[in-house]
Symmetry: C2
Subunit: 161 residues, 2 copies
Amino acid sequence: MESGDELRFDHGDRTPERLRGQLSRLVGMTAVQTRRAAGDALRAVGAHKDDFVVLAALAEFGPASQAALSDRTRIYKSDLVAVLNALARGGWIRRAPDPADGRRNVITITDDGERRLAELDRVLDDVNEHIMAPLGRDERAQLFALLRRVNDHLAGAPERA
Amino acid sequence: MESGDELRFDHGDRTPERLRGQLSRLVGMTAVQTRRAAGDALRAVGAHKDDFVVLAALAEFGPASQAALSDRTRIYKSDLVAVLNALARGGWIRRAPDPADGRRNVITITDDGERRLAELDRVLDDVNEHIMAPLGRDERAQLFALLRRVNDHLAGAPERA
DNA sequence: CCGCTTGTGTTAGGGACACTAACGATGTAT
DNA sequence: ATACATCGTTAGTGTCCCTAACACAAGCGG
């Protein structure tokens, strides 16, 4: 089955020394791997990464305008259009004009959408389990914490607790 | 200067709970951040990420064919062409046909190339320092180790020591 | 020597993702 | 009323990662 060996960070004596110090490279290659793992699993059930993100936001915060959704999911409002089209086609959301504001649409998750979300949640749980398989409970928490500190810092965090 | 706040993994109460458990999302967003940090710094000196990678491989392993370079840098041979063109234009490498094998080119780093590599190395050292600024010495090592284990695992590692 | 297969460099292109620009329609403020 | 801001939408940019096809050269089996 010889897999994505291309994305292995370290190939031992074949890997230039200087590259091993580049966190950017390591995290970049790992990102592609994890993205692919999640993407493949979701594609197997006919879903896309953003489907899960949008459904999760709707389930947790209730009906929302597309602008609000974009804000909560970091999906650009321009890209959101296609995602919502697909979700509506599947019957997982309803998109109706906001009677209170003619500019907005109100996006609502349907019962089928809740079920879909549960399904995708299961799929992604498996993916996460697979990704972090080699790590123990505390190590997973450590990895999350370390990455989040780097992420916060690069996002321009003024050292918030 | 309000920066790339879009790429912050956690926006507190505005972030759906389910998304916080997705390592794929966290590592993906952080990858974009670090890639951008490195890319910006390199662009400021007229360089590209792959320039550094290729020069490093040449400096550490000596002259090589493009196929060998592709193997060592995980840059696809198709993409390598443009990188080498740019490096040759800058006078940082020489590209000559291999007298022993009419199919191959022999890529050699020049003295200017060595200097260029040293420059890019300095630039990237600063970037890495900036990226990992919030982490202590041991934490940086931990982050590297954890990510490498995930990376190795996803690359299809058969539990190699 | 002659095909056959393999390796090499090159060109072209696809697909995913993050991101920007512009625009018509609609609200809001002055 | 006039100016400005917001919303959904369409279109397009740039960057990675990756595949396909091809001409050419090398090696190998007959």
